[in-house]
């Protein structure tokens, strides 16, 4: 058996896990690993801030379905990654973070760049390891990859002291079965539960299917489509469920929740049965829990037992992998029509259509929703959009019609501003042929704009649309609605993004009129390298509909009907 250093073992393991790209930043405590890296066929992307490394690994994971890998040094390197790790945790994204740690002999002595990283990341990882013996390293990394991608995926961190990276031992990649998770969900759902679910579904007159991120993780898009078409039950999406059900399918109600379509929320509130697939009844989806879908029985198909009846009481939980469950459930349900219910929803939909901002005529100023719509049109709906967090994120979710899974990547659960640019870089490595677009606000973009240098250094082609309204727009909107327009700390000065891009040797354009939107997008797509477009949009526009935080889901603030 070959003798390897800990540093070499790390790379030997990554190679065996099929890793071909890692995102990281070197430093003292991880130096042995970086030295060994040069001898292995894995591409390293040098980030400009370790938060970016974690987001890139996350974006890579979401775009590929594989595990993303981020590397950082001890102390500040590791703590900088925590926002990215928490982002991956809340959105069930499989990443493995490898961090250097001070030598085992000085752990606990407040040594230079020492932080208790496994302690810090304990509540934001699915699991983590501090490896104090080189003999345990290969097993820890193998387990880390397995845990990251199994069941409900999530981030796993492996903290490796510098002396463990230097120590040597015989290297064997363990191939025995990993015993985690101990409590596996059963492949076979109890037949009685399936029968009961089928009975409820067949009897329901006003059912709604709720789909979330779990559909994509399980790879159950075809099964959900088949189930919906057979039963003719309309489908409402969570933010991370977007793309798992075709947006233009006639059963698709679009996004539900705080900024969901009014007709989707009305359907949920009026339903007599909710059939939830791989979603977790987040507060952004439910609004006031006391009045949420009061007349509906709830069936919840979910792989994570701790999500059952966490927020919303579930009448019939079905634990399992969604794809496997649907393969057993769909044959048991009757084909349905539900004409009256779908007609009712169509009526609500027509009423919403009258308020659609796309019906508004162009004004002198540019509307963000129009930019998103035109981006959809110019990219033929085929782009991989990575959105940041805020108003533009909601407009993207409303107006870019996603037909395919993994075509929208966004920070849903944690709502991490600054996510989009680094996550898009990771996504581009996963899908090199995709037409990748960053859609970010002027606030969030500034949080991680340093990664423009990473983009340039890597020679990647992706385009960046900055929806620039001079405000931290979503917070401003809350201040407008709920704080008497007292705009505390929301007006934000930005650099000249065109000049900023120029400093990175990235071409850029500024767009202020509707007629220039599509030509600018087309020009950007034709350029071989990255392009930044600074869209100057209406400053005080708001995202509608809006359910105020904690309000009833049907108590939506609606967009005024255009008066022109």
């Amino acid at each position: 058996m070959p003798i390897r250093t800990g540093a070499q073992i790390i790379w030997e393991c990554l190679v065996r896990e099929g890793v071909d790209v890692v995102f990281g930043y070197p430093g003292g405590a991880i130096l042995p690993t970086y030295d060994a890296m040069l001898d292995y066929p894995i591409h390293h992307v040098l980030v400009r801030h370790e938060q970016g490394a974690a987001h890139m690994a996350d974006g890579y994971a979401r775009a590929s379905g594989k595990v993303g890998v981020a590397i950082a040094t001890s102390g500040p390197g590791a703590t900088n990654m925590t926002t990215g790790i928490a982002t991956a945790m809340l959105d069930s994204s499989p990443i493995v973070c490898i961090t250097g740690q001070v030598g085992t002999s000085v752990i606990g002595s407040d040594a230079f760049q020492e932080v208790d990283v496994t302690g810090v990341t304990l509540p934001i990882t699915k699991h983590n390891y501090l490896v104090t013996h080189v003999e345990d390293l290969a097993q820890a990394i193998r387990e880390a990859f397995h845990i990251a991608r199994s069941d409900r995926p999530g981030p796993v961190l492996v903290d490796v002291p510098k002396d463990v990276q230097n120590a040597k031992c015989e290297f064997v990649y363990p191939d025995d079965e990993i015993p985690y998770p101990r409590r596996r969900v059963p492949a076979q759902v109890p037949a009685a539960d399936l029968e009961r679910a089928a009975e409820w579904i067949d009897q329901a007159e006003r059912p709604v299917i709720l789909v979330g991120h779990g559909v994509q993780i399980s790879g159950a898009m075809d099964q959900v489509l088949e189930f919906a078409e057979k039963t003719q039950i309309p489908v409402a999406l969570t933010l991370l469920g977007i793309g798992t059900f075709p947006a233009q399918h006639r059963l698709c109600l679009g996004m539900m929740g705080m900024h969901g379509e009014a007709y989707a929320n009305r359907a949920v509130q009026g339903a007599d049965l909710l059939v939830a697939f791989g979603m977790r009844f987040d507060d952004r989806v439910t609004g006031n829990l006391k009045t949420y879908a009061k007349h509906a029985k709830k069936i919840h198909v979910e792989i994570d037992p701790s999500e059952i009846s966490k927020n919303v009481h579930v009448d019939l939980p079905i634990l399992g992998d969604l794809k496997a469950v649907l393969e057993q459930l769909t044959p048991r349900v009757a084909a349905g029509r539900r004409d009256a219910w779908r007609e009712q929803i169509s009526e609500w939909r027509m009423e919403s259509e009258a308020r659609n901002i796309l019906r508004r005529e162009d004004i002198d100023e540019l509307l963000a929703a129009h930019v998103i719509h035109d981006l959809w049109e110019a990219t033929e709906g085929n782009a991989l959009i990575v959105s940041d967090v805020g108003q533009h994120q909601m407009w993207e979710a409303q107006y870019y019609l996603h037909e395919k899974p993994r075509s929208l990547i966004t920070s849903g659960g944690l709502g991490t501003m600054g996510f989009a640019l680094p996550a898009a870089i990771g996504a581009k490595f996963a899908q090199p042929d995709a037409d990748v677009w960053v859609v970010a606000g002027d606030g969030g973009f500034q949080m991680t704009q340093a990664e423009l240098a990473t983009l340039k250094q890597e020679g990647l082609k992706l385009n960046i649309a900055i929806i620039n309204n001079g405000y931290l727009g979503m917070v401003r909107q809350w201040q407008e609605f709920f704080y008497g327009r007292r705009y505390a700390a929301t007006p934000i000065l930005s650099p000249d993004f065109v000049k900023l891009a120029d400093a990175y040797d990235i071409p850029a354009m500024r767009v202020t009129r509707r007629e220039d939107v599509i030509p600018a997008i087309q020009a950007a797509r034709e350029k071989p390298g990255p392009v930044v477009i600074d869209f100057r949009v209406v400053q005080e526009d708001s995202v509608y509909p809006m359910v105020p935080a904690g309000a009833d889901l049907h108590a939506m603030i609606r967009r005024p009907v255009p008066t022109q």
């Binding site: 998770p181 409590r183 969900v185 109890p190």
Partner: protein
């Protein structure tokens, strides 16, 4: 009401920290938590009392079962179970009170384990109600200090408490009913 959960966990550094962190993070209300060794060298056992007024025991069980180092977890509330708590109580007592205290201890099957000129230490083992009963009686005599271990629990009969099918349907995926702990550790 209180629910009693029994968790088998890997005997590794930081496992108690993970469990405690989970309870804090999820704002679970825990009455008591005891940890101790088992007959298996690599396995520790936790007995956790959950106050169900504020915390759903099924959620505690589900979240615990997700921790990588948790081998198995079981709600034994509705099983025939032996529950034991141990208390050491130091009370004021001079020589004249000793005989009466000894009698009192006998009634509760408690033992006087230390006598000093002006105090004694009484050791009592039993379920929570019994210990509470003794404490009520002793309180008027002046308790100087008291310590309780928190409850430990074990299901009666030849099962190990981790083989019995759960009542709630989500919790069905677990051991396959074999009677030996080491086997069930490997197979669940």
């Amino acid at each position: 009401m209180k629910h009693t959960l029994v968790a088998l966990v890997e005997d590794k550094p930081g496992v108690l920290n993970r469990v405690a962190s989970l309870f804090r993070r999820r704002a679970f209300n825990i009455e008591s938590l005891t940890v101790g060794r088992t007959h298996e060298p690599a396995v520790s056992r936790m007995t956790i009392l959950v106050d169900t007024e504020q915390t759903a025991p099924a959620l505690v069980e589900a979240n615990l079962s997700k921790l990588i180092n948790v081998i198995d977890v079981k709600d034994v509330t509705h099983l025939p179970t032996v529950m034991r708590d141990l208390a050491l109580v130091k009370v004021r007592a001079d020589a004249s009170a000793l005989a009466e205290l000894n009698q009192l201890a006998n009634i509760f099957r408690a033992n006087i384990v230390d006598v000093s000129p002006d105090s004694v230490i009484i050791e009592v083992t039993g379920d929570e109600a019994k210990i509470d009963g003794l404490l009520d009686v002793l309180r008027s005599r002046g308790i100087i200090e008291m310590v309780r271990t928190g409850q430990v629990a074990m299901a009666r009969g030849a099962v190990n408490g981790h083989d019995v099918p759960a009542a709630n349907s989500w919790a069905t995926p677990r051991g396959n009913g074999n009677g030996h702990l080491a086997e069930s550790v490997g197979s669940v």
